[in-house]
Symmetry: C2
């Protein structure tokens, strides 16, 4: 396998193929096939997102993929932000359609034409829905699996509130949800308030979740947006308040994508392959029976262990293929399985199992009656992944004292006045764009370029 640190791009492409995550050889470039193992991981990520959304009383819906040009053009600034990236359906059968239909690049315009039918009174608020669907972007840039694709696996939550204050509370709730999702995926991130020129088209402001990715770039894995009344005024979304007055709702959105998987692959993986947090591992525990004289009994014992673990609710499999144990170890390590159980004649005779953690070298023997301890070891693997990703974050994100400092950095913090002019200067000299002000940072300092008052900000080359 490629060395991850030295050749990240090659390593990334290789592991994606070896682990069977996606196949990029489809006829249409940038539209990739979700292969079984990759799709399973993505579905497990979806399950986590659903769980925390449902907990906060979001309702799941699913909107049509097509949006008419008429719907899209209601909010001019919004459609302008996407106009170069939209796939247009113009024909049905042999007919030319009366109105062009867009493959959704995002669903504001699809949903908000319906909101006036659903939201009538203050008792309908807050209104909170989400969907997990594909969105489409006619990318002209170089595509990269899970990072920049033309068909994107996407989560989008949309809310409507009685006023801006209530919408702001929603923004905080999003941050809570995101914190939990990031924790299950063992991801460290920076919360960056995007500059005016880089916020979502139509938003009052946008906060992005940026992770450092090996390969010396940052990856935006998610965003939340405060829309205020901007869309409501264009799509005419009003409600009757307690006093019988008609008011515009305030709105927010929260978006996540398959980039979460890209981050998991890129940040946690090592030269052996993937390392998966146990919540999203399609196989959490793999059992490898070791051939020997009493292989029949070893196999029978292994299967009993598997059944016990299945009954405890784990995703567990047994590798009975006709390969050497060494081959199997490598194969499952490459696939990122957090825990391996080895069972040979000694384990059989002593009624125990040998555990190997994906993140550690040592092996651990536990007696069968302590089988429930696997839970702690799965958590240990997660803790290891978290420490590793925190260390990676801290090792690589420094505070720059001068523009020169920023040149050889990865993602880098600096005080910045917020002007496009200073940001452009930084980008020209260091190839790093302003990701924005660090969310909720209370410090202040002099802009690294112009010396005016500045806020603590993050800069990086982006994917």
């Amino acid at each position: 396998m490629e060395n991850k640190k030295e050749n990240f791009s090659e390593w990334y492409n290789e592991i994606i193929e070896l682990a069977g995550l996606t196949d990029k050889r489809y006829e249409i470039k940038g539209m990739n096939i979700w292969m079984p193992y990759g799709l399973k991981i993505m579905h497990l990520i979806d399950d986590i997102i659903r769980k925390y959304s449902d907990e906060k009383k979001f309702q799941e819906v699913s909107f049509p993929v097509l949006i008419s040009r008429k719907q899209l053009e209601v909010e001019f600034e919004h459609v302008k932000g996407f106009e170069n990236e939209i796939y247009w359906v113009t024909k049905g059968g042999k007919d030319t359609l009366d109105v062009d239909l867009a493959l959704r690049p995002t669903s504001e315009s699809a949903m908000y034409t319906m909101f006036p039918l659903w939201i009538r009174s203050h008792t309908d608020l807050p209104f909170k829905i989400y969907q997990i669907v594909s969105v489409y972007r006619y990318e002209t840039k170089h595509t990269r699996a899970f990072i920049r694709v033309r068909e994107i696996h996407f989560y989008e939550a949309h809310t409507a509130h009685k006023d801006y204050n209530d919408a702001e509370k929603q923004m905080n709730e999003y941050l809570d949800i995101w914190k939990k999702i990031a924790s299950e995926l063992c991801l460290e991130y920076s919360l960056d308030v995007r500059p005016e020129w880089d916020k979502f088209p139509g938003a009052k402001y946008s906060i992005a979740f940026d992770t450092p990715m090996p390969g010396y770039r940052s990856l935006q894995v998610g965003t939340i947006h405060e829309y205020g009344e901007n869309f409501a005024r264009n799509y005419n979304i009003k409600y009757l308040d307690e006093n019988g007055d008609l008011k515009y709702v305030s709105q927010t959105t929260f978006g996540l994508s398959e980039r979460l998987l890209a981050a998991v692959i890129g940040i946690h993986g090592d030269d052996k392959g993937l390392i998966l947090p146990y919540r999203i591992a399609p196989v959490q525990i793999i059992i490898v029976p070791i051939p020997g004289e009493i292989y029949d009994k070893i196999l029978e014992y292994s299967r009993t262990i598997m059944d016990d673990l299945k009954n405890m609710g784990y995703r567990v499999d047994i590798d009975e293929r006709d390969y050497t144990p060494g081959y199997k170890y490598n194969d499952w390590e490459m696939k990122g399985v957090p825990l391996r159980i080895e069972i040979g004649s000694r384990e059989y005779n002593e009624n125990m199992i040998t555990l190997s953690l994906r993140t550690q070298k040592k092996k651990i023997k536990i007696s069968r009656q302590n089988l429930r301890d696997v839970e702690n070891y799965l958590k240990t693997v997660n803790d290891d992944i978290k420490s590793h990703s925190l260390k990676f974050f801290n090792d690589n994100i420094h505070m720059a004292k001068s523009i020169d400092d920023m040149k050889n950095e990865y993602m880098v913090r600096a005080y910045w006045c917020g002007s496009k002019e200073c940001s452009d200067k930084i980008e020209a000299l260091t190839e790093k764009a302003a990701l924005g002000n660090i969310y909720n940072d209370k410090t202040s300092g002099k802009c690294i370029v112009c010396g005016r008052d500045g806020k603590l900000s993050m800069f990086s080359r982006t994917y």
Copy 2:
């Protein structure tokens, strides 16, 4: 509510709206919004389909939604079958695309361009995959929720085999899987071998699962297709057999759609609303606390019962809304919840619960220590649904002795020689098309039209 028997179409439209299954007011006609309750039911149906597919070692994948014209046109007969129904993407941003891209009407051409890359040797066979995605049809006919829509929630399984014989075994395995799915959905069906002119474009033969729907039409809820080497020869899908010879694979497919939900709604429902088999009920048990003097204690007791049932693995909810019990009963009956638990002061005092089954009028009291019995009652509801649907099937599907007999029937059986001529005659006189020969029927008789030798066949008006 509308009377189901007398005004089926109105009843169907009304219950879909009342229960919150779909919203048809979206800008693009025939593309509907999956509302939360409808989407949950559909996802539970998907879970059943996944379970039985996975059991038979199918692997889930997900292909891009777009298929280039080049890919589609590899199999001429296939694309011809769809050419009037395809949505074409012709523009990306402001560019006109070099080649038109189809929104998948089905995925043969997307998948089979990849099969030669994945299938090389006999050890790769049988090759079995499926996906659950949306497919698109530019329908010119009148659309109807879940029955005829332009964006269709779709399950498609695709297999490749070493020879025709092995593919035929796959066809039998499909029938096994389908039998299990139909049983969980409590559906009765006819297995009809479609006539030549009505088989899937590109198939050697097609078997359809047809259910009688109230409204005097039959509904095709699923199909399986034997392709033989037809697609393999066009898409050049070959493998090296044990002797080192290159051979074409034989292929099959299995398709199911959101019509399964249409059948569940239409066949099982009654004048009170939906009736859901418990496997696909988003709420399997609803608890209604009855107001009274000791309401605090009743509520506390009700919540304990809910927690107990949740721990047993049931999807259970408690209705604490500020409505009368009668209103709540009607509401949850309309939503098709199989079991209701009523808890008032008597239940609290005597440490018991009162059960009401969606399919029966009587109420049943059980002591709290027998709470596990709810499983039997859920099964009783399913048995009631099954009896009802079997009775509906048998009451309505008769054997015709003459063409005149067929006129006032629903779906109707008759012997038929298999000729298009006789089928056309039947259709002209009775408005019923040939669904095909009854699968595996061993009897024979004289064609009801021409008197020649015929096979037992099914006829119906179709949706």
